[in-house]
């Protein structure tokens, strides 16, 4: 072991347009040695990984978000600009940039490339998808491109792993930054930018040329750019805004004054370096596939079938895995329980910790399966087509086609659905989608609906549908209506505005890179388990405590005496009966039981008594826990398998204070409406906290949804009573 200090790791950023194959390259270079965190204060994910280069050199790779321009139109692009201009505090500018472009589409991909080359940082241009270019008969003169751009250029195919050794060899070289300039602002604007540039202080970590891009950013800022406001002297910022206002007046259209010039430069470069036979720009395979997949009739039909298959898979394939995890965790619980003496520690471990870990793990199959499909759909290019087909529908509520699949997934479970919102570019649309995802009736609500419908809705035919079927449909429909209302409201208030352009690239169809698909599935599963899992575990332990303490009321002690007596004469039936009564009395005596009674005045107007109150509280663990809680409360074996006896008890229970039935069909309806609208799932809150990187949104969700649930149930119950449906 050498004693000298390790030199600082070389920091290399991978950058490029969306669909350039950037992430595939990142995955190919780093493999599983990846870390995912958040850039501070925003919801953009920061992906880093370590990479082995020739000669035993290690480098840290940063996968910067896909971007179209250094003038940002989304939080993702803002992060890219901030990192490159030294405005991102936790991520200093990289030592080297590997810029990935699609060789089949240099014309567009060179736009950002030229912007970044002008920054004057060491840069390697990686011409990706050389295989696809060759297939179409396109050839790129690499030497000529190197000459034109004055940067090293290497041809690769990230998906096939071709050319990566040459790229790695370049990555350890001391790459000299390019001295080329391609920008062509009109002369009067060049002068304005010069003036502004001179006022910016010199910085150690930035090439002097990058100050010019900072000056352009200042000039184009609309006053809402927080990173600029943090890093630039206020008087300089004010001057820039004043200059911009004057230009707005005298030189309309100046804000895009450099774009056409840059594209002229690109056209000249492409003309020289790309050799394309006539017709090579037409992708005939793409045209053939698109004619079917976005066909006026077949497009939507295929879309519905595909979505049905995805949805069914999440539902059906995940179930056996979830049951298996459930079974496994119960065995673990029994093994641990069997090895320990009865007592609070055993109860904490088995009913708190192991149950919490179990809850977290049961979500993983759904997440893994959904992301398997999503990343295949994304990589093949179908996702953009799905958004294209659904955009019109979703635009009605102020969202875009990108919101559809996350919402559909939420009918299985809101957790993977909310995680799937990452593919929505607009931050505001993404947050609105997250906020409405839990209104989609998830599979955990089904046992509750099944119990209440079984207990209170008579099995009659209404035309072509049974009354229970109609009720279930109405509940799903109510959730959708609530989601529409909330999305509409949010997009007109707190989530108003944002970049007012819905433009989306429809990329060419490609065979997915299976390695990347696998890495995505693994990464999403681990992220959920680690980040949301800790919150779920903590809340499970709290809920366990609330349902288990304090112990030993007089009633419980009297029952325990009876149990000892029954056990002495080996009356097993009696022992089991008393055990159920003990469980019920203990729950009633616990904090959760008291809380149920405590909230009774608040839920009485909805038709709920304290027993339902306890169920509402324990539902926080997962909605279906309501069923087993009610079974415990009514001295039944705590199971959600056979709810028949519970249905009867719900129908027949008499309120001892009034002498009338405690629950009527109206109560059942009110409770179902409550379960549709209320935010009762702590796992959802945990994942919202992870995906929005703040506690503000989950708390807002909890308050909003529960207020809506209370209001709607109140309207149903009190309205029903006014109409005479009280009993």
């Amino acid at each position: 072991m050498s004693a000298r200090a390790e030199p600082r790791l070389r920091r290399i950023a991978i950058l490029g347009n969306p669909n350039a194959g950037k992430s595939t390259l990142f995955n190919a270079l780093t493999g599983l040695r990846q870390k995912v965190a958040n850039y501070p204060g925003v919801t953009v994910e920061k992906k880093t990984g370590s990479c082995e280069l020739p000669g035993g050199v290690r480098a840290e790779l940063i996968d910067l978000p896909g971007s179209y321009s250094l003038q940002p139109a989304s939080p993702d692009e803002m992060v890219v600009r901030d990192v490159l201009l030294g405005l991102q505090d936790d991520t200093p500018p990289p030592d080297l940039i590997v810029f990935v472009v699609d060789a089949t589409n240099l014309d567009r991909h060179l736009y950002l490339a030229l912007q970044v080359i002008e920054l004057g940082r060491p840069l390697i241009l990686a011409l990706n998808m050389m295989d696809a270019a060759a297939e179409r008969g396109l050839s790129v003169d690499i030497a000529a491109l190197e000459r034109q751009l004055a940067v090293p250029v290497v041809g690769i195919s990230a998906a096939r792993g071709e050319g990566l050794d040459a790229l790695r060899a370049l990555m350890i070289r001391d790459v000299k930054p390019s001295s080329r300039h391609f920008r062509r602002w009109p002369a009067h604007l060049e002068r304005v930018i010069d003036r502004l540039e001179q006022r910016l202080p010199h910085r150690e970590d930035l090439p002097d040329r990058a100050r010019r891009d900072l000056a352009v950013a200042l000039l184009l800022d609309h006053g809402d750019d927080e990173a600029l406001a943090r890093h630039v002297a206020p008087e300089t910022l004010a001057d820039a805004h004043l200059l911009a206002r004057r230009l707005d007046e005298f030189s309309p259209g100046w804000r895009s004054g450099d774009v056409a010039g840059r594209y002229d430069a690109i056209s000249a470069i492409v003309e020289e370096v790309v050799n394309a036979p006539a017709g090579a720009h037409r992708d005939s395979r793409r045209e053939a596939i698109d004619r079917v997949l976005t066909h006026r009739v077949w497009g939507p039909v295929i879309f519905v079938l595909l979505m049905g298959a995805v949805f069914q898979s999440v539902f059906a394939w995940a179930q056996p895995l979830m049951d298996g995890i459930d079974w496994g965790m119960q065995r673990v619980g029994q093994a641990v329980g069997g090895a320990m003496a009865d007592g609070p520690l055993r109860s904490l471990l088995v009913d708190g910790v192991i149950a919490g870990v179990g809850t977290t793990l049961t979500f993983v199959p759904q997440i893994a399966i959904l992301f398997l499909f999503l990343s295949i759909l994304e990589d093949t290019g179908y996702m953009a087509r799905a958004a294209f087909i659904m955009d019109r529908v979703m635009s009605r509520v102020g969202l875009s086609g990108r919101s559809f699949i996350p919402l559909l997934s939420s009918f299985a479970c809101a957790i993977p659905g909310i995680m799937a919102t990452r593919s929505i570019d607009s931050r505001r649309d993404r947050f609105a989608t997250i906020m409405i995802a839990p209104f989609m009736s998830c599979s955990a609500r089904l046992p509750v609906f099944a119990l209440l419908i079984g207990a209170f809705v008579p099995n009659r035919w209404i035309g072509f549908i049974t009354l229970p079927g109609l009720t279930l449909f109405a509940m799903y429909f109510l959730g959708i209506v609530a989601a529409i209302v909330v999305a509409w409201g949010l997009k007109r208030t707190v989530l108003k505005g944002g970049f007012p352009l819905y433009v989306m690239e429809l990329p060419p169809y490609r065979v997915p890179a299976w390695r990347s698909v696998f890495i995505t599935v693994r990464e999403r599963s681990i992220l959920f388990t680690r980040n949301a899992g800790t919150v779920i575990l903590a809340i499970t332990v709290v809920l366990w405590f609330l349902a288990s303490y304090p112990k030993g009321s007089d009633a419980v002690r009297a029952l325990e005496t009876q149990r000892t007596a029954a056990a002495a004469v080996a009356d097993t039936a009696r022992v089991a009966q008393v055990d159920r009564e003990i469980a019920s009395a203990s729950l009633e005596h616990s904090f959760a039981g008291r809380a149920g009674k405590f909230i009774e005045p608040a839920i009485a107007p909805l038709g709920f008594d304290w027993r339902i109150g306890i169920g509402l509280i324990t539902s926080l663990a997962a909605r279906e826990v309501m069923v087993s809680t009610m079974a415990t409360v009514f001295n039944l074996e705590s199971t959600d398998e056979d709810v028949q006896p519970l249905r009867e008890i719900l129908r027949e229970t008499v309120d001892t204070r009034t002498g009338r039935l405690a629950y009527t069909p109206l109560t059942g309806l009110s409770l179902m409406v409550f379960y549709v609208l209320a935010c009762q799932c702590m796992s959802t809150l945990a994942v919202v906290r992870r995906e929005t990187n703040s506690w503000r949104w989950p708390i807002a969700m909890l308050l909003l949804m529960n207020a809506m649930a209370w209001g709607a149930s109140f309207a149903v119950y009190q309205g029903g009573r006014l109409l005479g449906y009280a009993s």
């Binding site: 179209y68 056409a260 007012p500 352009l501």
Partner: protein, 86 residues
Amino acid sequence: MKRRAKQPDAGTLALDELTAGERAVIVSLDCPPAVTRRLMELGLIPGTEVELIRRAPLGDPIEIAVRGVHLSLRRSEARHIDVRAS
């Protein structure tokens, strides 16, 4: 669905008025400055040829091809891009 007040020159029409498969040359963009800039950065520069590939099954958005890239654009935005049939 109203056209903007400015009377279009003879021969120009809005991008969303093209029929599927029809090509045209971009004449001008009349959107808010930041939107105009972004559309131009995506290749929609006056003088560039653009083709309307298809409309989505529900009529909106539209798919266009410009500089070898296919973009999905809402009609509410395409309406503000003037083109001249080529």
